[in-house]
Every structure is written in C-alpha cells, then in structure tokens.
Symmetry: D2
Subunit: 350 residues, 4 copies
C-alpha cells in the first residue's frame, strides 16, 4: 500500500520529526509539504539531516494538491488546521492535526484556553482523540484525529490503569512534569535561547497550562467509560522546563482508596499487549534518554503495599510518542498497516 | 577579626566552593586544608580558578595543626567528621560539618540510613542544625554545627511558614525536587558522566533518600516548636537529576486546612528580615540560575484563595545556600560577624 | 543471507551503538555478546533503549561460541583483540576490531604509542584499514579489519582529495579537531563527569595523541599510492573536548601549491559515488548534529580562488561513521551486502 | 572616590554582566541605565540575580542625565554609540564603548565590515583601543575607549609576545576559535535557541568575520610598534560555536622564524606583571571554565625546542575579559583606581 501524504507546516520541530519518520516509512509517499515562509526552498537546506533522503521543496498552501492526498498532517500553530479541515474532509481526505484545534470537546473551554474563536465547533465532536492505547478502535475508522499533546500523553498513560480500576481518589491527582526545550517549538524567543534555558531549571505556567484541561477531560472520560461516573477529577499540573532538547518526565502522585492492590501487576497486565508502552520492574527509574527518538512510553510504579500513596514515573520523547511518532502510529492504525511500521527506530544512547 | 580556619577534605565540589568563598572573606585566614590523596599538591593545580588567589598545598591529616585553628570545616564523605570532632572540640575548636554526621538526632535512624555505626552518638544532641532562618540563636553559641543538606534547605525553607502557622495537613506534604549533577559530588562514577547525565532526566532513590528523614525531623521540630504537637508528618520526597551543574528546584505540594489565608503575605512577612531568603511576587517562577553562585533561597507561592491546594517553588544553589555558603553564613553568626561577610557575590547570568 | 555475529566487549558506547545498528540489520543474527564484568546480566538492563529489541544476556568470554560465528566484532579496550584474533582467524572467522590493535603498520610506532608489546605483529600487515572510501576493494576480501579511529576518519576524508591530487604542501597540514565527550568512553573518570566536561571547553593531548600517527600513516599512504612519493607529511593535530555527547568537527588547514584549482568541484567529483560522504555547497558550515546517529561524513570547502590557503570543515558522529557505523559498513562490504544495509537511519534534529 | 556612571543599553548579556560587576564596585554609583524597550521596568525584574542588589528602573534615553555622569558605558548594538559620543565628550564625559563603533582606525574598512556609514570618523583616531596589556598608558588619559571584541582579546594576547619579538612568520598566523553562545547576544534568533545550539558544534562566518580586521589591525600595530615594519600579516580566522554559555578558547598556530627561543620563558616574562594574564606551565591545557565569571586571560604555550611550529592556547570569559570586565578594568585605569577594583571575583567551578 502506498499512502499519499501531505504535510501542512513542516518547519518546526514536530514537522522535521514527522519527516524523519515518514521518509523511511515503507508505505508513505510524501506528495507535498507546505510552508508560507519557506515556499520554494529545499526542505533539506533547512534540515540538513534530510540531505540525501528527501528531495522536496516547501510549497505554498495548495488546496487542490492537498485534496489529492490520502492523508494530511497539520504540524501548524494552533488555529490553522480548523481553517482547512472541513474542506479536506469533504474531499475525502483523512486528517491528523498535531496541534490542539480538535483536542477539547467543549468549545467554550477550548476558546477560553486558546484565546480565539473556534471556526468549526461541530468537528470537535467528530474528531477522535488519537491516543491509541485508549481509542484504538475509534481511531481505525476516524477521518479526523486530534493528536494528543505531549504532556497529556505521558500523564494519561501513567494514570490510566489506576483510573480504569477506580482505585485512586480523583481529587488527589498531581502531575509534576518536566519537559525538554523542544516542546517550546522552533520560534525565536528569548526564553528558549541556549543562554536562557541552559544550565537552568524552572517551573512555568503554574497558574494554568493548556494541557491541564486536556488531561482532565481525558481522565474524566476514562473514569466515566469505566463506570466511575460520580468521580470529579481535581488535578494539579505543574510543568517545568529542563535543560535538554527532547524528553518529558512525568512524576505522578495519587492517593489510593485501596492500598492493597498489586499495582505493578496491574500496570503490567494493562499494557502487556501495548507495543509502545513499556512497564519496567517495580521500583525502576525510567530515563528520558531511553526513549530519545523512539515511540515508547516507559514507566515504573513506586508503591509500598499498604500505603495509600503511589508515585508513577512516566517518560516519553515529546517529539515522538508525544507528537510525530504518535501521529504515525495513528496513521498506521487508520490505514490498516502494522502499527509499528516506520516506528522501529531505537533510542540513541548516549 | 581574623578567624584561623582549617578545612578537612577539600577536593570535592563543596570543598572548592568553600575555598572560593573563604579566599575572599575579609576575616578568614585559611591555615590548613587536608587531603589524603592530594597531600603535597597545590590546591590551585586541582582547581585552576584559584590560581593567583590561593597559594597553599594540600596537607596530610594533621591533628595538631587543626587544633590550633578557631574553626574547622569538614567537607568530607559521611563518617569522617565524627572521628575527629570530639578531639577538636576538647581543644576548644569550633566545628562545622558539611557532611551528614550530625544532622539526625536519633542515632538509630542515622545508623539505618547511613549504614554505619555512629561513633559519638552523644554529640548528636550537642550539634546545632545550621539552618540560620530557624536556629540563628542556637547557632551563635554552638561549638558544633551540622550544616544542612541541600534538598533539606530548599524544602524546609519552602514549607516553613506553613508549618509554623499550622495551616497545612502534615500528611499531605510532597516535595518533588530536581538537582543539578554537582549534588552527586566529584567521585568518578558512571552515572554522573557527561554522556550519562547530559540530555537526560530521571528520578532516583524514590524508594528512600537520606534527606527524607532529615527533612521530616526538621519539619516535626518546627511543628512541635510552634505548638502543633499532635501532628504527624507523612512526607513524600522524590528527587530527580537534571542536566545542569548547579541548582536545586523544589516543587512543594500541600493541602491546606485553612484555605483563606493570604499565603503570599504570610511568606513575605516571615522572611522580610532574612537576607538570604527572597520571596518573589505571588505567581512568580524562580529560576535556579538566578541563584547560581549566590547564597540566596528564592521562592514563590502559588495559591488561589479558597483552594485547599498550594504549590511552593523554592530554588537554591546546592553548593552555596545548600552547602558551602550556608556554612560560611553559620561561621559569620558563630563569630559575631556581619552575616553577609564574604557572601555578597551575585549570581552569574547567563 | 544471515550473518552470525559475535561481539566481544559490548558495555561501552561503541558497543551499545553497534547493538543499536545490528539489532535492526536485516541480515544479522547476534549470537553472543561477551563481557567479563556483566556476564549473566541482561544487555537491556544496562542499555534500556534496547528493551523490547534485544533479549540477550552478556556471556563470559567463550572461544568456541565465537568460533562458530561468521564475524566477530571487538569493541574492547586496546590490547584485547590481538589476544584472540589469530585463533578466530584460524577458525575461519572474520574479525573487525573497533579498537586500535591493528591500525598501525609499524609495530615500533604502535608499541611506542600504545605502551604495550604487540603480541601478533605479523597481523599488522594482514589487517586492512577499514576506511571504505579509500580501501573498498581490499576490505571486500579482508579477513581482518582495523576499523579506523574517529578523528582519523574525519581528518583523512577531509584531506583526501587534496592529497590524491598532490596539490597541498604536506608539511603545512593542521587538523584542529573538536570531539564530543562520548569519544572518551564509558569508564568512570573525573575528567568526563558532567560537572567537569559540561560548560567547559579545552584542548587535550596537544603534545601527542595516538590518532596523530594513524592519520599521518594514512595520509602518507595516499600520497604514495598516488605517485607523490617524495612528500613528507608534517602534520599538526590538536584535539579538543567540547560539551556535547556525540560528534566530531575537524577544521582542516593547508597551504596549496596550486591555488587555481576549483576545489569544491574536485571534492564533489571525488565523492559523487560515495553514499556516506556528503560534500555541501562551497562555503557551507556543516553541523555535527546533522549527522548525529547517522553514518555520514559531511564536509564543506572554504577557498577563495587564487589564495594559497584552504580550510576544510568535516563532521561525523564519532560513534557511527567514526566507529560502529563504519564497522557495519565494512561488514556489508565484506559479505557482499548492500553497503547501506542497516545504516539508513536519519540524524536526530534537534 | 565615587564615579558617577551611566549605562546605555543594559538589556543584553554584556549589560547584565556590567551591572553584576559595577553593583559591587566600591567606587561606582550607577546613576542611570537606559533602554528604549524596557523603560520604566525594574532592572531586577529582567535579571533576577540582581534582586536585592540593585533598585533601579530602566530609563528612556536621557542626554542630560548622561551628561551629568563621569563615565558612560555603551552596551548597545553597533552604530548606536557613535550617535551620542561626541555630545557626551563635549560635555566632558568619558566614554567606554563595548560595541565596535570605534575599534577600527580605517573608516573604509569599518564601513565595509559593519555595513553602515560612520557618523564621526574623526573619533576613530581619538579613540584608544582598550586592551590594557598593550595600551595602558594611553588608556589612562583617554576620553574615549573602544573596548576590544571578545575574540580579539583572546587572540591578540595569545600572539602578543611572539609579535613583539618578531619571531613568527606573520603570514602563517591561524586562530581557530571557539565561543560560547552568549557571544551571540540576547536577541531572539533561531540559530541560538537551546535546541539549535545545544548538542551541536559548527563553524560560522568562515568566509569573513568582523573580528578578523580588528585582530589584523591590532597585530600590525604591535609589529610596527616594535620595529618590524616590513611585515605583512596574513591571518586566517575561523570562529566556531560551542554548546556552552560562556567562554572563548583560542587555539593559535604560527610558524617560527627562530625555533630555538624558550617561548614559555618569553611568555612568562612578558606577562609577569599583568594581573589579568596568567601563563600556565608549558604544555598545560587551560580550560574555559577556569575563567568563568573572572577577568583573567589564561594561556599556555606548546612548543618543542627546535620545531618551527608553535601552538598557543588562550582562554577568556567572553563576557568578562572579553567585554564587561575589561571595560571595568579600563575604567579603573582611567580613574586612577587600583586596576583590580571590583574585579576580584573567582571563577565558578563547577
């Protein structure tokens, strides 16, 4: 099978990562990649790692070329995908948005957090949240995928088994998250200069981060889906910036309402058939570099039997399982391919 | 005044930092610095930043030279200071131990966590815990100071106003802490190689870290000292390694039993006379680099009035306020000097 | 085809990189990997990036298992491979040594630089220097390959077209080289701790580095092979340590004896059929990260027509084209495979 | 003595470094610091390391306030200082420009390299090049100081003794220089983002860098000043970007016309009275971190007697001896203070 793929907006870190994966994917043909600012330039001049691998120029926005694709990825700032998605869908094209346009179901919440009017709120319901470990069946038949955020992927996968079994107090949930700097994107900005973000550690957006409502929505969906209908999530989310390029480390805290469950067993069981979730032995310390460049979410449970407190450690590469890799995994599911196609790269150590 | 100072074990990062501060201290004369492994070598050959500032050789251990000092610092591995302290004290020398030998009051707890027999348990009671913001009066007259650990300094100062006012539920306390790699010392060890610790983030010692009982003891002391005698601390401590040399960032979580207090005001009030604690405006995000090389603990409170949850962010330089700087601050107090002597260096940005 | 491969000494950075490449190689079956210190432990416990990819334990040294392999890689410290190579060769096994045991032809020079007695000096002549761009034909039929050092790969490829055409003054050659810290290996050592090598830049071994005679030998071989028999190489080599994990940047200086040649054309022509050498447009600045994880040597020529001075910039990933990747490239040539098998990974940016 | 100081443009890295030094200088009173973009904001809000040390707001440009100062520093982009300097000089104010407006003597060369018209070319002759080790006497009485560039400081001090003695072939000079990222300033720019400049090494501006003519001019001045009038400098300069915040490492190559001089002795002798140049023992490898935050240029000579080739290694902190520290040193000389006033900080290790 050959999937004709278009990419809108390929000049950021998510874009180059998507290219890195798609270029070697055995079933993908990249037909067009658009960028207003870079139209006419060789992609490989901007990203020299692609020299010899990709002979393509950035194109201006081109509806008709995109409409001839089987699948279009949006690797654009928030608010762009929603301008083009309906037209593409009407033309039968499937769409994966790596930005946030379709991640929230409630348009009011979306508009509050993203500070703009949503131009196609009806599609919020249509869109499938592209977290395969939760939504695989729905993804298979979806025409529009909202690819999850990076923090939401690491956090939701880490809390998932606890929520499904309804064994945590949902008003006790804390996610203390640390992200590499690539999560901030490739726009020039003082705060992400080498001399500002290097040799430095800080929290940011403690008073409110857009991924908080996304995670909350996801967790409430899981609770409700598993019959824990009465549970309200009160979720504290503190993101931090850590001086490395790639990686998210989520340190998750919760209070158990049943402290005698063998949590490690429960996690191992939950994920035993998930190729891209790796549950380490109880008490392990997953490292972000162990997934650098790979599509894996690696986690470990820290719990002493009888204690009401549990700590979960969950790591991903924010650009892979937290963005481009998950998007390719979604594509594989949508098109009936082996879910691992094009995703078998091994993390670089060191 | 001229304080004759001896240093035992000056080859680690705490040692060189102590030298950096003492060399420029107007009231200090460094009489001797000992190192078994480096005896006979110039200190400035090992630490070339001291070339032109310090013309001294490492000496072998020399009791009598140390006894002629007014003050001896131990910048040694755990278990060394306790071998020499009594003899020095008997000779009238004052001692500041930068290691952990005298930090815990309960000898059983100490022996459990440090895995060795304590050779002078009676001195555990004698030793004053050298956190000036809590113990200034006791430090003034102390002959033996247990200089606090780095994490304990950042965490205790961050929780202190809440504990003193008894407005947190002490079984809800969580400290999610991130340390630069210098906290691991200067011993060769695979895990702290540039290629292991760089571009990587991980938790460690989640199942138990020696600073946990130190912090717990300190917090219980504060609660008890302020009349909250019935409160048991249940404290979760998760340390992480972050790819930078210096700095600790403590992200502190607690549940309030009184959610209507103006916490920022309370913190500002508590620390208004503390030169080395800087409370930023509410909602700020202190950066570790803002204290790199400086003796400051900088913090900010995140709390929405009416919410039962509070987040405190607290940063220090682990080698300064978390070790050598605090030791010098203690010396200044002990010898009746201006508490700021030798400590007015400004953090390097970038 | 299925090549049965053994690896001796797989616990260093070269070893894990070799595993990363071989695990995904379509024609390789890893039969055994030995390590004295780690025998019995899972390889993936040491290198968690391999979890789910490699289910193998380190084995003790095992001659007979190695003899049943088609190919044995030595990823050991210098001086180990020469103890086992003859026996393996006698058993018909082919050998690629990633260390330096067989890199120099002159046993006296070898013994001087490596400070030990060479136990099989006759094999120095037998061994083929595994730089495919120079020695492809010889590699094809070799039984013993001396895999080049990292600096020598970057430097020789950069000077090669100039030397072949005899248009440089060979006593004017300077290589100012900068290496990432992984070049120093994974042994614990103070100098390569994060807090020593990070935020720091320094030269080392300016008075003499083992790669100097290797490069000199290689350049003299090229000169002689191209009829420039009378030319003596006087070559200045200054290596530096730069605070990153992977990558070598060689800045090469030479004085031309013919300043009117179109050097960029000459380089482009020389390497037009070399898949793993990428000559950028004249005046470009190749970045080390553009080859991170990839087997490419990327270079650019800086020369103003008429000037007698030329600067060549040449970058590689020291662990790939400078070690494990080149070793796999040599294997592919030796066994008649597509030279690109298992080597098509694209560099990670960022 | 109390020097009333004004600073124009204090929002870059040179500006904050100047503030860090001046705030603790015993003879300086900062009267005004201007910034168009930040006027009205607290300086310490932008640079939190200054909290508690400096209670000052950025002011809009204010000629009359500047005219009431004894000394005005320009820490502005190139082309700003020349707009204000004459007026300030006419008012009797002394000026130190940390940018490049007055560094070159030849207005045509300046205009070619800086791409703008010079508005007061006559001041180019008036200005004194502020490298104290060469120009101390002239600096003492200067009203206008052109503070040298960072690379030019490291390179000129490294070549100086060789040039003064006329023992190098001046057409053989090469400076292979490596700079930390702070040299690029604090403007937002993609190329200096953490994710672009980190874990990466590259050369830049190989075809021509503005510091090349500055260094060439300085070296020709030295040759001419020491009677080597017939010597033309042909100087190759290759700058590189290295992933650290602070520091320059210059690796200098030259061919000697007298290979029997004891160069180490010659360097030691030349700099024995220079407090801010430290000549290490022959064969040493100075580290950039050994001068991080300090005003020292540290160097070492590598030369085998009888060889015609010499390598000099020279390191500085680009923001201190390469910018703000040297500016303060110049001020101290101009105002008859101890040259070391306010400059005795010791480099931070680690």
């Amino acid at each position: 099978m050959n999937i004709k793929v278009g990419i809108v907006g390929g000049t950021g870190y998510t874009g180059v990562e998507l290219l890195r994966l798609l270029v070697l994917h055995p079933n993908v043909e990249i037909k067009i990649i658009t960028s207003r600012s870079e139209a006419g330039n060789n992609v490989a001049d901007m990203f020299p790692n692609l020299r010899g691998h990709l002979d393509l120029q950035f194109a201006p926005m081109d509806n008709s070329a995109l409409k001839s694709c089987d699948l279009v990825y949006f690797a654009t700032p928030n608010g762009i995908a929603m301008q083009w998605t309906r037209e593409l869908m009407n033309a039968g094209v499937r769409v994966i948005d790596l930005a946030a346009d379709f991640r929230l179901k409630d348009v009011d919440v979306w508009q509050k957090w993203y500070g703009q009017i949503h131009t196609c709120p009806d599609l919020l319901e249509t869109a499938v949240y592209g977290l395969p470990e939760i939504n695989r069946a729905r993804i298979k038949n979806a025409q529009l995928i909202a690819n999850p955020g990076c923090y939401p992927t690491a956090v939701q996968l880490g809390f998932l088994p606890l929520l499904e079994h309804g064994i945590v107090d949902p008003d006790s949930l804390i996610a203390d998250c640390k992200s590499g700097v690539s999560g901030a994107g490739r726009q020039p900005s003082v705060g992400f200069l080498f001399c500002e973000a290097g040799e430095n550690f800080k929290a940011y957006a403690v008073s409110g981060h857009r991924h908080q409502p996304e995670i909350k929505q996801g967790m409430e969906f899981v609770l409700s889906d598993h019959g824990h209908l009465d549970q309200q999530v009160d979720f504290t989310f503190v993101p931090h910036l850590t001086p490395m390029a790639r990686g998210i480390h989520a340190t998750l805290y919760a209070r158990l309402n049943n402290s005698n469950v063998d949590l490690n067993q429960l996690f191992a069981e939950r994920y035993k058939d998930e190729h891209y979730v790796d549950v380490m032995p109880a008490g392990s310390h997953p490292e972000t570099r162990s997934v650098r460049g790979a599509n894996t979410c690696r986690m470990a449970v820290h719990h002493n039997k009888g204690s009401s407190k549990v700590v979960i450690l969950s790591v991903i590469d924010n650009l892979v399982k937290g963005a481009a890799g998950q998007a390719v995994q979604n594509m594989n599911i949508m098109f009936g391919l082996d879910e691992k196609s094009g995703l078998e790269g091994i993390a670089l150590i060191p």
